[in-house]
């Protein structure tokens, strides 16, 4: 009987509502245009321009869809275009646009300015948007694979560097493994519920129509491992420092923001929509992940001498803070993650922009002690860098503080005071981590010669945007907070 119905549905001409995918279409089109133009036109800078225009257009399209769209489901309810996914799309496009800006000169210098570099960035962004818009576990998987495969290649795009190749291979092997976990988990959930659609899963759990609750828990656990790997939460974080260190710095900047945000988008939607009825059982699991990520991340960052590794660990700590919002799981949780990832996008890419601006050719692993006396050599860059560092540390009135404030508000209003205490204690450790760099920049004398530093207009634009964002979201957060609040999952 069941089978018959399914076959009948399949015969009907499928409804294709492309209006929910404007941003994806624009990006895909841009990617294809670059591939074609590359055949006829040798100058790679044009590809960057095309990519930038495409990404900005996709970001604007997302905003327009949020304003005029109606939050509809499409493609047999596998894709949803609600404010939550559109807000995330804007974050992804912003992250990619900033990455392109800081990449132009860097890619030329490191001889990785293939047009594929920009194409892969764009396709990864498409994958992220699909992940954030997925209302079906299979769509989550589809987006995740699209994003990951592009990232595996990007991590290893510097063919001249063995570290880059190592990082790519490591990322690929572990990533493929984690994807298997995710897929296996999806299979278990399907076995338990009979559907992979998140709303179906939720209603099946609510109405207790389970084939086997053991299978469901198994599935939830495996999906958590898969997504936990993608956002790099402890104990699935081992790859992060190595991959961050080995990948070209611009790719690291990209990876630290967009893909992470996409992972969270999927994490939050799967947990808050699909598994919302299981929250009593899953909350302990996420609680532990959050506490471990914060602690391991901030303690690990203390010991690093290489700034890219340090930022890798610090990003693990930030994963912990975001997971605190998932533990809270109340009406403030999903707006909090939106706001957090937006601010994180500005401050983290801004920080990487400074790291790139200060690095030299072939110097792929910049050491922290290289920042000694930066305030004397390049006062403006030192100031901008400390702005981002203090923002990451959560010092008001910068954006990072408001983001943490939102997350902690969510946690405390849901009654998780102890988790918040763990979080704030870790922020203090984090403060020490970030202070170390400001100490070097401001309180020690420079070593060696200080060559004049030409700042390209691209990097400069990225820095200005990031600084404005960090200040605006910290001092006048009202408007964007309101937008985030209207973009929550419920």
């Amino acid at each position: 009987m069941m089978n018959q119905q399914v076959t009948l549905e399949l015969i009907e001409p499928p409804e294709i509502d492309l209006a929910v995918l404007w941003h994806v279409l624009i990006l895909t089109g841009t990617g294809l245009v670059i591939v074609v133009v590359d055949l006829f036109y040798p100058k790679k800078r044009l590809m960057a321009y095309i990519a930038l225009v495409g990404v900005v257009a996709a970001g604007l399209a997302s905003m327009a869809m949020a304003k005029f769209g109606d939050g509809s489901y499409a493609f047999y309810d596998t894709i949803v275009s609600d404010n939550f996914s559109l807000f995330f799309s804007v974050i992804f496009c912003l992250g990619t646009a900033l990455t392109i800006l800081i990449s132009v000169n860097y890619a030329e210098r490191e001889a990785i300015n293939y047009s594929e570099y920009y194409v892969l960035l764009i396709f990864a962004t498409v994958g992220m948007i699909v992940m954030a818009s997925a209302s079906d576990l299979i769509t989550v998987f589809l987006g995740l694979e699209l994003m990951s495969i592009a990232l595996y290649v990007l991590a290893g795009i510097n063919r001249a560097s063995s570290k880059s190749a190592e990082s790519s291979l490591k990322y690929f092997l572990l990533g493929a493994f984690a994807t298997c976990f995710l897929l296996y988990g999806i299979a278990f959930v399907y076995g338990a519920v009979g559907s992979t659609n998140l709303n179906e899963v939720a209603s099946a759990i609510r109405e207790d129509r389970l084939n086997s609750s053991g299978m469901l828990y198994m599935g939830v656990g495996l999906i958590t491992i898969g997504l936990g790997f993608k956002v790099a939460s402890v104990p699935f974080h081992m790859w992060t420092p190595d991959v961050y260190e080995g990948a070209p710095t611009s790719v690291t900047a990209f990876m630290s923001v967009g893909p992470k945000a996409a992972g969270f988008a999927a994490f939050f939607r799967v947990y808050l929509i699909g598994f919302s009825e299981l929250s009593e059982e899953t909350v302990t699991l996420i609680w532990i992940l959050a506490a471990l990520s914060m602690t391991v991340g901030s303690l690990g960052a203390l010991l690093q001498e290489n700034i890219k590794r340090m930022l890798g660990y610090s990003s693990i700590a930030h994963v912990g803070y975001v997971l605190v919002a998932l533990v809270a799981a109340n009406e403030m949780a999903s707006p909090a993650v939106l706001y957090y990832m937006l601010t994180y996008c500005f401050m983290n890419i801004g920080l990487f922009a400074v790291v790139i601006a200060l690095s030299r050719k072939g110097e792929e692993s910049p050491f922290i002690k290289g920042y000694a006396g930066l305030a004397v050599r390049h006062p403006v860059l030192a100031f901008v860098m400390s702005l981002f560092l203090f923002s990451l540390a959560g010092i008001p009135p910068l954006a990072g503080f408001m983001a943490k404030f939102y997350v902690f508000s969510a946690a405390i209003s849901a009654g998780y005071v102890w988790l918040t205490v763990i979080a704030v204690v870790n922020s203090v450790i984090g403060v020490y981590v970030y202070l170390r760099i400001t100490v070097l920049m401001y309180m020690t004398e420079p070593e060696g010669e200080s060559p004049p530093l030409p700042l390209s207009p691209f990097t400069l634009t990225a820095l200005v945007v990031a600084v404005m964002g960090t200040l605006y979201l910290g001092i006048f957060p009202s408007r964007i907070l309101e937008l985030a609040r209207n973009s929550g999952l419920f």
């Binding site: 010092i395 902690f408 005071v417 918040t420 202070l435 309180m443 009202s478 907070l481 309101e482």
Partner: protein, 514 residues
């Protein structure tokens, strides 16, 4: 008007950004001008202040983060008025005292002015989040002032200062959020407005948590006994102006916090924690004094004397009566003046001799009599000689303490004696007797700029000592209102659990007051 005072230093910074770094003189003049202007604009607060009301005055309120019920809400009462004036006054003195700074003068002055904005903001904020923001904002410039322009161990001291204060204050953030969301569950409104929270009664168990979360942040800042270890390091390494502002204003944020937040928000917990707080305060008083006695470094001596003096202020606050709290508030101002003056004097002699070891001096009164005279006034003020400001504060505090908890008063008296001992002994060793070291014969006496720095301080030291009525009368209404809030809080919160002696005590107090 308050907004103008908070942000005038920022305009000074903007103006300074257009001055090229090479023109040191112009930079210093711009900074001095903007700090003087800030002070002058803040003076009318004193004269326009209505001392008959306990309401907040000069209130300004603009919505800031509407989704969270956070607003830019500032105002002052009889308690914060004096701390704002102290801040603007000391910042002006400090910019004048920093004339000899040569290293990266532009950044130095910018840090000073940001610090001023942060400090004023802390004292005028009536919104919990705004308070927290200013509280944290002033950390960074102080950290930079110690870390860039400080002494040999400056980096250690700066990082220790930052981490200690930050550790205390993040717990305060948890406390603020807990307070807000507990009240949200009771009333259905999310608000960070402090005045609203005064009205709501907070359950006793939450009060205890809040008291611990807020109290820890303030205790680190004061600093109270086991949390004081950052202070000697920070003071010794900081440049003179940094020490003056640290002792004069930053430490007061801790005691101010107790008065503004802990007491009215959690009266029950505060009252029941009073014995612990007073014990720690007394330990601080005696420990600080004993440590000061054995120091060989004059700056460290003054730093430890701060630990001792701040203990008195905390003791006065936790006496829970009008005299004690009034004494605490006036003593905050006094300590800012007297210890500030001592740090300035230490800085001036250090610039000449480049040593802070007490035994390197001796007989200075013969060589630099004017300097020695000012030093004597500062010492007398610090040891609370009648006729100078310190006496008024200490007298009121002791009067309050002996009325409510005499045993602690008895211990505090020991602190007073020890204070006289280490201060007079220091004066004797540095200023009296004969000149032993030939280097001291080359010392020059104070120059006109240094006189201009010290004279205003001395004027206030004498003024408060001789005629304190204009100061005390302005805080009457606010302090009495605070005591009333505590009384009400104690009566509302499970009156049966409150020991009967407390209630009798409170009744007595009300009878005595006309």
């Amino acid at each position: 008007m308050l907004t103008a005072i908070i942000f005038l230093p920022v305009f000074g910074i903007v103006a300074m950004l257009f001055v090229p770094a090479g023109k040191a003189e112009l930079i210093k003049k711009t900074a001095l001008g903007s700090s003087l202007l800030t002070f002058l604009v803040s003076v009318p607060l004193f004269f326009k202040f209505n001392s008959n009301t306990a309401e907040m005055q000069f209130v300004e309120k603009v919505a800031w983060i509407e989704p969270f019920g956070v607003s830019y809400h500032v105002g002052i009462d009889g308690i914060s008025l004096f701390l704002v004036l102290l801040t603007t006054f000391l910042t002006f003195i400090c910019t004048l005292a920093s004339w000899n700074v040569t290293k990266r003068i532009k950044e130095y002055m910018i840090a000073m002015l940001i610090l001023e904005t942060g400090m004023i903001g802390v004292f005028v904020s009536l919104d919990l989040l705004l308070f927290y923001v200013f509280w944290e904002v002033m950390l960074i410039p102080m950290y930079l002032i110690i870390g860039i322009w400080g002494g040999p161990r400056r980096i250690y001291a700066a990082v220790k200062f930052f981490i200690y204060t930050m550790a205390g204050s993040v717990l305060m953030l948890v406390g603020i959020l807990t307070l807000v969301y507990t009240q949200y569950k009771a009333t259905g409104i999310v608000t960070f407005n402090l005045l609203e929270h005064f009205k709501g009664d907070i359950p006793v168990n939450i009060q205890w948590w809040l008291f611990v979360a807020f109290g820890l942040a303030f205790a680190v800042k004061v600093p109270m006994f086991p949390f004081h270890t950052w202070l000697p390091d920070a003071h010794v390494e900081a440049p003179t102006a940094g020490s003056v502002l640290l002792a004069g204003v930053l430490l007061k944020m801790g005691t101010y916090g107790f008065i503004r937040f802990c007491l009215p928000l959690c009266p029950y917990a505060s009252y029941n924690a009073a014995s612990v707080m007073c014990t720690l305060a007394v330990i601080g008083i005696i420990y600080g004094a004993l440590m000061a006695l054995v120091q060989t470094d004059i700056k460290k001596l003054v730093a430890y004397s701060s630990v001792s003096h701040l203990g008195f202020i905390v003791l006065g606050i936790f006496a829970f009566n009008v005299e004690g709290i009034k004494g605490g508030v006036i003593q905050m101002v006094n300590h800012g003046l007297s210890t500030g003056c001592l740090f300035l004097l230490v800085g001036m002699i250090y610039e000449r001799r480049h040593t802070r070891t007490i035994s390197d001096y001796g007989g200075l009164v013969h060589q630099v009599p004017v300097y020695a005279g000012f030093f004597l006034i500062a010492v007398f003020s610090s040891m609370a000689l009648p006729g100078l400001n310190g006496f008024i504060g200490e007298f009121l505090i002791l009067a309050g303490v002996f009325r409510s908890i005499p045993i602690f008063g008895a211990f505090a008296i020991i602190g007073v004696l020890l204070g006289a001992w280490y201060l007079l002994w220091t004066y004797q060793r540095m200023m009296l007797k004969d000149i032993k070291h030939p280097e001291n014969r080359m010392l020059e006496d104070l120059n006109p700029r240094e006189l201009a720095v010290l004279l205003p301080m001395v004027v206030f030291i004498v003024w408060i000592g001789v005629y304190s009525k204009p100061f005390l009368s302005r805080m009457d209404a606010s302090v009495e209102n605070l005591v009333t809030i505590i009384e009400q809080g104690l009566r509302e919160e499970k009156p049966d659990e409150a020991p009967s002696s407390i209630r009798e005590l409170l009744k007595e107090e009300r009878k005595e007051r006309p």
